[in-house]
């Protein structure tokens, strides 16, 4: 990679998968057909459409995937609308990886893991889930609670059904917000579902989703008896440089782009409530 951190690299969009009505997953390769760079689960990269702008996105593919890199992106603004218009074969630019990853080789090692995701919040956790599946013997039980507005809004649904649910020692609980024809699974919001499932207090929790979902989920976990030190989450704020200099993602003395995006919940408690 170019040592110039602000200068990106052209990459080819090899494949575009439509996950939900507003989420697409983009498979990225260099022109030579390689993965653009190595990363750790939870890390992010800057993707840009020249002339439109640049934005920070979590890398949803696992580092154990040596073939390519994937980003699941929800269409919700100017740049993401442009990204959603991309077709296979077109080019974008990428630079990274940025930020502090989930501690897969430290705190999470050997632990029973509980993943809790809401909507597009699955994107950063998917990287960890697949990393753990590919290193299955180094982690304990894996439990995944994933919720979305509707059945159609569940990202990576096929992978969840065909690969995650069939991995030994991995249990998946899906939920959607409202009753829907053709859905005979659980209905209800993620925070309530977590409380219903009453997970074992020995588990280490990784949670990501809309801020309000994270807030109520952690509140529920705390009521169940989980300590902030057991809970990891990943944050999102506006970013421009990705390396802690442009000032945009500054909260307290931390920069989400370089000191995060992954934080342990007790660390977040030390920061001013400004996210």
């Amino acid at each position: 990679m170019n040592p110039e951190t602000l200068i990106p690299h052209p990459v080819v969009v090899e494949d575009v998968r439509i996950d939900t009505p507003d989420v697409k997953t983009f498979r990225i390769l260099t022109r030579e057909g390689d993965k653009p760079f190595d990363h750790l689960p939870g890390q992010c990269a800057m993707i840009s459409v020249p002339g439109v702008g640049e934005g920070m996105f979590s890398i949803t593919s696992s580092p154990t995937n040596r073939a390519y890199m994937e980003f699941s992106i929800k269409k919700c603004g100017h740049l993401t609308s442009w990204l959603h218009a991309l077709e296979p074969g077109m080019e974008v630019t990428v630079r990274g990886p940025y930020g502090r990853p989930f501690p897969v080789e430290e705190d999470l090692l050997g632990r029973d893991l509980l993943f809790i995701a809401g909507g597009i919040g699955l994107a950063p956790l998917r990287s960890v889930i697949n990393y753990v599946r590919d290193n299955r013997e180094r982690y304990g039980d894996v439990e995944i609670i994933y919720g979305a507005r509707s059945k159609d809004d569940l990202v990576d649904y096929r992978e969840i059904l065909e690969e995650w649910q069939t991995t030994p020692g991995v249990r998946v609980h899906l939920t959607i917000d409202r009753e829907q024809v053709g859905w005979d699974g659980h209905v209800g919001f993620v925070p309530n579902y977590v409380k219903e499932l009453n997970p074992d207090l020995k588990k280490t929790v990784l949670v990501c989703g809309p801020p309000i979902m994270i807030k109520f989920t952690v509140q529920g976990l705390t009521e169940l008896g989980f300590a902030p030190e057991q809970i990891w989450t990943t944050m999102e704020l506006r970013m421009k440089c990705g390396v802690g200099k442009c000032g945009r993602c500054n909260i307290g003395a931390k920069y989400v782009c370089k000191d995060g995006p992954v934080f342990r919940y007790d660390e977040l408690g030390e920061l001013p409530d400004e996210y």
């Binding site: 020249p50 439109v52 999102e236 704020l237 000032g247 945009r248 003395a253 001013p272």
Partner: protein, 343 residues
């Protein structure tokens, strides 16, 4: 000690200009001075400081970062930078000279910002003592001595010229071939001039400004203080304070379609602006109170927390002079530290 007579300033600047571009403060309109390229006959401002700070030399208001050319759907990436040329900035005061060290902590920390680094490597800083500090000056509160301004070469101003001292190796190399421009004088005149500057500073209205209440680790102490509401009430979010500030370095990165390619440039930005943190999903700093608080918390708490206690302010006083609602960091510091005594 080397001494440059007032009458020889033109000769000195001409000699310096032979090896590099020299920028000097120039009076551009009443009460407004700015750095300009020196050419023979350019009158150097006798004012205390330029309206904008000297940060532009290393962190310009806008600069191109990347160029893109798109041909046959392939993106070609271009580094727009040419060879950086040597330059010198003359007449930098102690406050601005210190601000470069603060900017260094941001831009030269890993990963190094090479755009900034290139300019730093080519810029020679010729500082000057403050013979007549202004009522808005409070650099001494941040441990800055306006009589020892630092830089590469320091000029100590007196009634008939300047005592000239090399501060760095680069400064020594610069002065070495210019020897015949200077007189050799006893250094006592320099000491007297420095003492005079220090004595004036002690008499100025902001001489007793205290920083003790602030510093790293004090986020919880100050973040929820009720005074932020009244302090920020009149702030119109114009960002002038940020633009004139020598240490404010937040920036934006934007793309511009030139019609035959795309330029990605960066420009100064301000945490005082409502769209600074605005995302498609919402804005974590909804009102001016939060934006205002961010600017001062960053300078007085967050920056020192990450940089060994050094504050993100050099007391140049530009924000005091330029804020349209007469709010400034001094009022913020006084209000917050007074409130603390009462509690």
């Amino acid at each position: 000690m080397l001494f440059l007579k007032s009458a020889d300033l033109e000769r000195f600047l001409a000699a310096a200009s032979e090896t590099r571009t020299v920028y000097v403060p120039v009076d551009v309109e009443p009460k407004k001075s700015a750095y300009r390229k020196w050419t023979p006959g350019t009158a150097v401002s006798k004012g205390l400081k330029t309206t904008r700070s000297a940060k532009d030399f290393f962190f310009p208001q806008t600069e191109d970062l990347v160029g893109f050319r798109i041909e046959n759907k392939k993106i070609q990436i271009l580094d727009p930078r040419g060879e950086e040329e040597d330059f010198a900035v003359f007449g930098v005061r102690a406050c601005d000279a210190r601000s470069f060290g603060i900017l260094d902590k941001v831009f030269l920390s890993e990963p190094v910002d090479t755009y900034y680094e290139n300019r730093r490597a080519h810029g020679l800083i010729l500082t000057m003592t403050c013979r007549r500090p202004a009522e808005t000056c409070f650099c001494t509160a941040f441990g800055i001595d306006p009589a020892s301004p630092g830089g590469d070469v320091a000029f100590t101003e007196t009634a008939d010229g300047w005592y000239v001292e090399a501060v760095t190796e680069r400064g020594r190399d610069f002065l070495a071939p210019l020897g015949d421009l200077f007189e050799d004088r006893d250094g006592s005149g320099a000491e007297a001039a420095k003492e005079e500057t220090r004595a004036i500073m002690k008499r100025l209205p902001l001489a007793d400004l205290q920083t003790d209440a602030f510093g790293g680790g004090k986020t919880k102490e100050f973040f929820d203080r009720p005074e932020w509401a009244s302090l920020s009430e009149a702030c119109i979010g114009c960002g002038t304070c940020t633009f004139v500030c020598p240490t404010c370095q937040c920036y934006d990165i934007r793309d511009y379609d030139t019609g035959h390619g795309v330029k990605r440039f960066r420009c100064w930005d301000s945490c005082m602006y409502s769209d600074f943190t605005k995302m498609a999903g919402g804005n974590p700093r909804l009102t001016q109170k939060e934006r205002f608080r961010q600017r001062f918390m960053h300078k007085l708490v967050y920056f020192p927390e990450n940089n060994g206690g050094e504050f993100g302010c050099v007391g140049c006083g530009r924000c005091l002079a330029s804020c349209p609602i007469h709010m400034n960091i001094v009022k913020v510091m006084k209000t917050l530290s007074e409130g603390q005594d009462e509690s």
